[in-house]
């Protein structure tokens, strides 16, 4: 009982520092009107950039020739191996400093590029494993119909491979959304600020960390529904379109009395 005062004080400090409801309420409007949109823009841009890079890198990684695989292998190993924060600085500060300025002096573009490059490295491996898990007979069947390698991959193999790795990709998307907060380091201009930047500004202004909690809630409002959305999509694709029509009568393959055509078949 003698130590009661100390935990009480600590608890109060925690409540005061992170659960100042007034500050949280004050921060939300700016988070929602400015930060949420910018976080979505950066994350969505990075995801698109990442998927494009990843598709290309995955195709290279699947090559029989080592010198085709090599550049993709280096890319994946480097950007999966580097801390995110270093890549953000390399791309956002290093590129413009080296005279490579595809987005001029606007940090927003570099932010998307940096997160996209990191995302691509992880997604490339996800795609590669998904594509490799597709039965080689699928490629053979497509090629036997006269499709070129690239067309067969695009129409037959890659769509199947990607469907199999949707849950892994949901995880990657969540990471992309969270890591978009690190572009704060690039000093976004007014109107470009994402969730974490805005919260951090409020923290600096008020000497109170409660705005971070508000930003956290906003991140969860993005990541959790997205995970469930992708999982729902995955489930629907797995089960295929809902069809429960009985097999057509008189069909010789259907045992008598008719039972669903898939019964007993290992497709």
């Amino acid at each position: 009982m003698t130590h009661l005062a100390s935990p009480d004080l600590a608890a109060n400090a925690l409540v005061n520092t992170f659960f100042n409801w007034e500050l949280i309420a004050q921060t939300f409007p700016r988070l929602i009107t400015e930060g949420l949109l910018n976080t979505i823009a950066i994350a969505a841009g990075a995801i698109v950039v990442g998927i494009v890079i990843a598709l290309l890198a995955a195709m290279l990684l699947l090559s029989d020739r080592w010198w085709v695989r090599l550049p993709a292998r280096i890319y994946v190993d480097v950007f999966r191996g580097l801390p995110v924060i270093i890549t953000v600085m390399l791309v956002g500060v290093g590129l413009p400093a080296a005279g490579i300025r595809p987005f001029g002096t606007d940090p927003f573009g570099y932010a998307i590029l940096a997160i996209g490059i990191i995302s691509g490295a992880y997604t490339a491996e996800i795609f590669r494993s998904g594509i490799q898990s597709v039965d080689p007979g699928q490629l053979q069947a497509a090629r036997s119909l006269g499709m070129s390698y690239l067309r067969a991959m695009r129409l037959v193999v890659v769509p199947q491979g990607i469907r199999r790795v949707l849950p892994a990709m949901a995880g990657q998307f969540v990471k992309d959304i969270k890591e978009s907060s690190l572009v704060y380091l690039l000093g976004l201009a007014a109107g470009q600020r994402e969730l974490f930047f805005i919260a951090q500004e409020e923290v600096a202004r008020t000497y109170n960390s409660s705005p971070l909690l508000a930003a956290g809630v906003c991140y969860l409002a993005l990541t959790i529904p997205m995970t469930y959305l992708v999982n729902h999509l995955d489930k629907r694709l797995r089960e295929g379109p809902r069809r429960t029509d009985p097999p057509v009568a008189g069909e010789p393959d259907v045992p008598q009395p008719p039972v669903p055509a898939t019964a007993g078949e290992k497709a």
């Binding site: 069947a141 036997s144 119909l145 006269g146 069809r243 010789p252 045992p255």
Partner: protein, 248 residues
């Protein structure tokens, strides 16, 4: 069974193939005449399936030439994709595309390879599916069909391209026994209709009845090639006799 005309639809000369130090095919020379059904039989591991996959270059031969009609497939720079579009292939495990409807499985190459408009491709696909008795299943997924139905879809898919030659790679081996006869019936109709066919099979009944010629393969060589009557009734090759005694 149709009387085969003289011109070869498919000509193979001096074909050989090895994986590392393991030789799978040794100096194979064989014609498939236009309109003919040639059945390839032999013990497992004798190279039948590899030979078939060399014919449309799904496997690359080490040596030898393959001619499809007047087209030299093994020439450097030959348009292999265009040639494959003229050679239909049916696989042991069907290899239907599970993410597409049955109809799309049949029409996908019509739109993407032949450049047909979508509605005309669908029309053709439905007609082909009707020929194998499965037009009612056009909008199902392959996984909703039985194995025998799936294999008939695979045949319709290959036929939709109007191939010059059809290759069947153990098309009934993965099927439950009661489903085999429907697939064989489709293949018999095709043979009777004058389609040029090379058929790797373990169905000796089919080879005996539907084949114009039967080729016996053994240790990567084409050991015997003759009419079904002479192969099945008057075999002299000891390896062939041994093989037939095991499977008949």
């Amino acid at each position: 069974m149709t009387a085969a005309t003289a011109a070869p639809a498919l000509r193979v000369t001096g074909l050989s193939k090895s994986y590392g130090t393991h030789t799978v095919l040794r100096d194979i020379t064989v014609d498939v005449r236009a309109g003919e059904t040639l059945c390839l039989i032999g013990p497992s591991g004798s190279g039948k399936s590899t030979l078939l996959k060399c014919l449309n270059l799904l496997e690359t031969p080490d040596n030898g030439e393959i001619w499809l009609g007047e087209t030299h497939l093994t020439a450097p720079g030959a348009d292999v994709d265009a040639a494959r579009a003229r050679i239909g292939m049916v696989f042991q495990h069907f290899n239907l595309f599970p993410h597409m409807s049955v109809e799309r499985n049949v029409s996908i190459a019509l739109t993407s390879v032949k450049g047909l408009p979508r509605d005309r491709a669908r029309e053709t696909a439905l007609r082909r599916l009707a020929e194998v008795g499965l037009e009612a299943f056009a909008d199902r997924r392959p996984s909703q069909l039985s194995g025998g139905q799936q294999q008939r879809v695979a045949i319709a898919r290959a036929l939709a391209m109007q191939p010059d030659v059809m290759l069947f790679d153990e098309a009934t081996s993965a099927l439950d026994p009661e489903l085999v006869k429907d697939v064989l019936a489709v293949m018999r109709d095709l043979a009777a209709g004058g389609m040029t066919m090379a058929v790797v099979t373990h169905e000796m009944g089919f080879a005996r009845e539907a084949a114009d010629r039967v080729a016996f393969m053994c240790d990567g060589r084409l050991a015997e090639i003759d009419t079904p009557g002479r192969i099945f009734e008057r075999a002299e090759n000891p390896r062939l006799r041994q093989f037939l005694s095991q499977v008949l």
